[in-house]
């Protein structure tokens, strides 16, 4: 699974430096909770997740206690740092497979969290869901506990594509899950993956059409990235499956943008489309806007005011740290002014409202030349650029990373 970045040593008590207070009022607060359980590991996945045999004695119940301890610890750290009391604007349960837990268990975690960090009114509370784990009853329990949104891991509508991905869910269950979620009053989103080895253009079209047919509020479409160390990477290395072709990935992205656009979805981030402004994922946007969030759970990443840290990966190590009263952080980094600017450029360029050109200029005084070239190359919207914002065109979205490299000089 993916290696964590290298960083500085994190203090045992998790204490934050005074610098996090700078501009804290202007940043919204969010929470991510990582549920590191899966029934099986999918061949492409390098997320921090474990099947039951890999858990070294950690159980769902013991894990929930650990999570509860980390929430308590975070309260202490926030108070000690004199951070202002802010309400949570969004909560996101990701994994792994959060729905490996009972709906009541998820509700209890949310309750524990909101006892310490009250929810803002209209806050978005999402969980990822495996369509095989859920039904109307499950969603109704979540809704009653305060959940507002569910993101269903659909990936593809084509059984042969799902098989390459090692996804075991029954494609028909996706429709049932979405229907149940809607019935329970939850907002709905589905995740799709394009560029799976062997997936044809038509098969991708079929998946997109199926997702549109579900009449969800929000669709994420991620290109498959072959992560080193995964079973899929090994299969490609051995020649058992073909390496995804970047040009074909680009074709598929363009098809997605076209079909989703026709169906009334508008892009608001490179990989995310929404039916309306109200159904954009507030949690997702928090990442791209460099807001503050606590990441709870093993391997979770946090960002508070220019300090980024990440927890130890294994649930058992995570438990040990918390049981001895320490922070589960493995390492952290305190970002310099220029680094924060660099991050803002690479993050904000990805969203539909775009990036303030002044931000780029404060890092790179000769940005004007790059921007003028980007306009000529049709990577950014010319009118927006003249008005002072960099907003990516369709072509620009596909080449965002190249443009970021040019912008930071």
């Amino acid at each position: 699974m993916a290696a964590l970045p290298s960083g500085d040593t994190a203090p045992l008590d998790g204490a934050l430096p005074a610098s996090v207070l700078d501009g804290a009022d202007t940043r919204t607060l969010h929470a991510y909770l990582h549920i590191p359980f899966c029934r099986v590991r999918c061949g492409y996945c390098d997320f921090n997740t474990y099947t039951s045999s890999e858990l070294r004695g950690v159980t769902h119940e013991s894990f929930l206690e650990d999570l509860s301890r980390e929430i308590d610890l975070s309260r202490k750290v926030s108070a000690a740092a004199d951070l202002p009391k802010r309400e949570l604007r969004s909560v996101f349960f990701g994994g792994g497979t959060p729905t490996q837990l009972e709906a009541q268990q998820l509700g209890a975690v949310l309750n524990k969290l909101t006892n310490g960090y009250p929810l803002a009114s209209g806050a978005e509370v999402t969980t990822e869901a495996n369509p095989d784990n859920v039904d109307l009853d499950y969603f109704e329990t979540l809704a009653a506990a305060g959940f507002t949104r569910v993101s269903v891991g659909m990936q593809s509508a084509v059984p042969s594509v799902l098989a390459v991905l090692d996804r075991t869910h029954n494609p028909q269950n996706v429709a049932l899950a979405v229907k149940a979620a809607k019935q329970a009053g939850l907002q709905t989103s589905v995740d799709l993956i394009y560029g799976t080895p062997g997936e044809s253009i038509d098969q991708w079209r079929e998946s997109l059409e199926a997702a549109i047919e579900l009449d969800v509020d929000h669709i994420s479409a991620y290109s498959l990235i072959v992560e080193p160390g995964t079973k899929l990477a090994q299969q490609i290395k051995n020649g058992k499956v073909a390496q995804p072709d970047e040009d074909e990935q680009a074709d598929k992205y363009e098809i997605a943008d076209q079909l989703l656009g026709q169906a009334g979805f508008a892009w608001y981030e490179v990989s995310n489309w929404s039916k309306s402004l109200a159904t954009r994922s507030a949690h997702n946007l928090a990442y791209w806007r460099s807001n503050d969030w606590w990441g709870f759970g093993p391997g979770a990443h946090s960002h508070i005011g220019g300090v980024r840290w990440w927890n130890v990966k294994h649930p058992a190590t995570y438990a040990e740290k918390l049981n001895s009263g320490n922070s589960p952080a493995l390492a952290r980094e305190t970002l310099s002014g220029d680094t924060r600017l660099t991050e803002r450029i690479l993050l904000e360029l990805r969203i539909a409202e775009g990036l303030d050109i002044e931000t780029v200029k404060s890092l790179n005084p000769s940005a004007a030349k790059v921007i003028s070239q980007a306009i000529a190359d049709e990577l950014v919207e010319p009118v927006a650029a003249i008005k002072g914002r960099l907003v990516l065109t369709l072509r620009g979205r596909l080449l965002a990373d190249s443009l970021v490299r040019d912008l930071i000089g």
Binding site: A2, L4, P5, G7, Y32, H34, F47, N48, G94, Y222, S223, I225, E246, D247, Q249, A250, Y253, V270, S271, Y287, W293, G295, G299, A300, H301, S302, H303, R308, W310, E333, T339, T342, E343, L346, L347, R350, Q373, D377, L379, R397, L398, L399, A400, D401, S402, V404, R405, I408
Partner: protein, 619 residues
């Protein structure tokens, strides 16, 4: 076995009758240095304890490659029938690039030991040097070395040598530098057959410089052979070519460590130190005389070394440019033949256009720059010197293909060499094919022995500077040997092929090639760059052109997707670090117009597979 001499003859007072000056002519790997080591041990000038392999080869590169670049002279005592003699062994460079230095070394001797590997027979370079030695009227002592090897065929090769130089196969000595067998007999024979030097002790001093070495502690050490008169410490000496006067700070002989003496007399070989810091002030071939009582006529044969092959040398890290300049300045102190001037390349940045005597010289210089000065370098494909005459009569000398004139060219003259190739007869076919493919014209072909053939060709130098030698070696399983000598200029049907990247000329890839080969070169180089240059945000045409005519075209399709799908669980750090890494990589990119080319792509395109210039120590 002759005993080691009990006494040594005092330099400066040695009777020329008791002096023997000789050199060893041998092919690389035929064991010259090992034989020299045995002589040093046997005559007692180096004791067994301080003996190290190949004592005379001082530079690391020399020892590693088993070749001699800089020659030296060693004085050794040897006793025959109760009389002590002074033997001066003058070590000659063994490679064709240094023919001029070889010829000066030979001119300092009265005799030569022709050393041939008893398992391999004579090779082309040895033949060339043997020819030079015979031209200089040197007494030749044929010797077969490595007779301890199981594969040795002394009878066969003794026959071959006798055919070449006359005499009987039985006259050919058999030695083993490794075990020392026969070395004493050889020393006796040197005393017996090599004539003693003859000169006028009372004439104004004339000493010929046969080598000049830069030593970082002592400045330039000049090796000379006294022809007439004598030189003494503290005298003021004059270089006859430049009229420059220096004070003689130290004079002495090497045996083999330097030993100061009271001077050098007729026929003696030794060294001079004047405090000069640059070998250019003490040039090989020049005549040294006494400034107070100068000789009227310089010794014959002096000439300035002229570069034959040029190459652009660039630091891989552009910030190393000042270090490269400094390194070249230092190297120049010890290498009078090295020429260079600053040059700028679109593809490679700032560097130097360097002139070399030949391919081995080029390779040795780049290797010394990298090794002794810790530089990472890239050299452009070697090029020869073209003399271009324009329609309007203007004449231009072109040492860099990118400077080839664009106007109406009337004629282009290119350097021609006479190449001698020796190989077992089974390979004659492939060698002829190779030479014909390189615009070679056969001069003659003759059998040296039963199964070995000598082929002589005239070839354009440009055709052999690239990968000819490697091709020759690979097509003959390493059996063929090559030697070449300059043979003037000849008119060639030559054109310049330029490489254009998105319409911008990339100077490092301009090449002057024969008209018939332009297309092949164009296809090769465009194809290669297409593989090596990463996709850009836009389509990049790669064209090869003669003037404005495109002869080959490839294109790199535009990159369509370069964006990460997501940041896993808010792991922004990972994405940022990836970006920072890419940014570092971008710094190493060279810009050709808007095209970002990784320096590695240029380097990979410039280094052809197996393109290793010059002769290496072959196994």
């Amino acid at each position: 076995m002759s005993p080691r001499a009990k006494t040594r003859l005092e330099p400066a007072k040695t009777n020329p009758d008791l002096i023997r000056n000789f050199c060893i002519i041998a092919h690389i790997d035929h064991g010259k240095s090992t034989l020299a080591d045995r002589m040093l041990q046997l005559t007692g000038v180096v004791d067994d304890r301080s003996m190290r392999a190949q004592y005379l080869d001082r530079m690391d590169i020399e020892r590693e490659r088993g070749i001699t670049i800089k020659s030296q002279a060693v004085r050794m005592p040897w006793e025959v029938d109760g009389q002590t003699y002074a033997l001066n062994m003058i070590d000659t460079p063994g490679h064709v690039d240094f023919t001029y230095e070889v010829s000066r070394s030979l001119a300092a001797c009265e005799g030569a030991v022709l050393l041939v590997d008893a398992a391999q027979g004579i090779e082309a370079q040895t033949l060339a040097n043997l020819y030079l030695a015979m031209e200089n009227d040197l007494e030749i002592i044929p010797v077969l070395n490595k007779i301890d090897l199981p594969a040795a065929q002394p009878e066969k090769y003794a026959e071959e040598l006798a055919n070449l130089i006359g005499g009987n196969p039985e006259d050919c000595l058999r030695v083993s530098g490794k075990t020392g067998v026969g070395v004493d007999v050889l020393l006796d024979k040197i005393v017996a057959t090599i004539p003693n030097p003859v000169g006028d002790p009372n004439a104004p001093a004339r000493a010929m410089i046969f080598d000049s070495v830069y030593d970082s502690y002592r400045g330039v050490v000049t090796y000379v052979r006294m022809i007439d008169g004598s030189l003494a410490p503290r005298e003021r000496i004059q270089m006859m070519s430049t009229k420059a006067v220096h004070e003689l700070l130290e004079i002495g002989v090497s045996s083999p460590e330097p030993e100061p003496t009271k001077g050098l007399g007729v026929g003696e070989v030794g060294y001079l130190i004047t405090g000069v810091k640059d070998v250019r002030q003490s040039k090989v071939g020049d005549t040294v005389t006494n400034a107070q009582k100068p000789a009227t006529d310089a010794l014959k044969g002096y000439k300035d070394p002229l570069p034959m092959v040029y190459s652009g040398i660039y630091p891989i890290d552009g910030s190393d440019y000042p270090n490269l300049r400094e390194a070249l300045d230092k190297l120049k102190l010890s290498d009078a033949a090295l020429a260079y001037e600053p040059e700028t390349s679109v593809a490679l940045g700032f560097g130097f256009r360097c002139g070399f005597l030949g391919l081995l010289h080029l390779e040795i210089v780049t290797e010394r720059l990298e090794r002794e000065f810790g530089l990472d370098l890239i050299a452009t494909a070697p090029s020869v010197v073209y003399e271009v005459t324009m329609d309007d009569g203007k004449e231009i000398t072109v040492t860099n293909p990118s400077e080839f004139p664009t106007g109406k060219v009337k004629t282009v003259l290119e350097p021609i060499v006479k190449a001698t190739i020796l190989a077992p007869k089974d390979y004659v076919g492939v060698i002829m094919e190779l030479c014909q493919g390189r615009r070679g014209v056969m001069i003659d072909m003759q059998y040296l022995g039963e199964d070995r053939v000598q082929l002589r060709y005239t070839l354009p130098l440009a055709e052999i500077v690239f990968d000819f030698f490697d091709q020759l070696k690979s097509k003959t399983q390493g059996y063929a040997s090559l030697d070449y000598e300059e043979a003037g200029l000849a008119q060639g049907d030559l054109v310049k092929v330029d490489l254009l990247l998105q319409g911008e000329q990339v100077d490092a890839f301009s090449a002057i090639v024969h008209k018939d080969k332009a297309y092949a070169y164009g296809v090769m180089i465009t194809g290669k760059l297409r593989e090596l240059i990463p996709r850009q945000q836009f389509e990049v045409p790669i064209q090869a052109a003669i003037g404005s005519r495109i002869i080959a075209r490839e294109s790199i399709r535009a990159m369509r997707k370069d964006v990460l799908a997501k940041c896993y669980g808010g792991d922004i750090s990972r994405k940022r670090k990836l970006l920072e890494k890419q940014k570092e990589g971008k710094k190493r990119m060279k810009m050709v117009g808007r095209v970002e080319v990784p320096q590695e792509a240029f380097i990979a395109a410039l280094s052809t597979d197996g393109e290793k210039k010059g002769e290496k120590k072959g196994k």
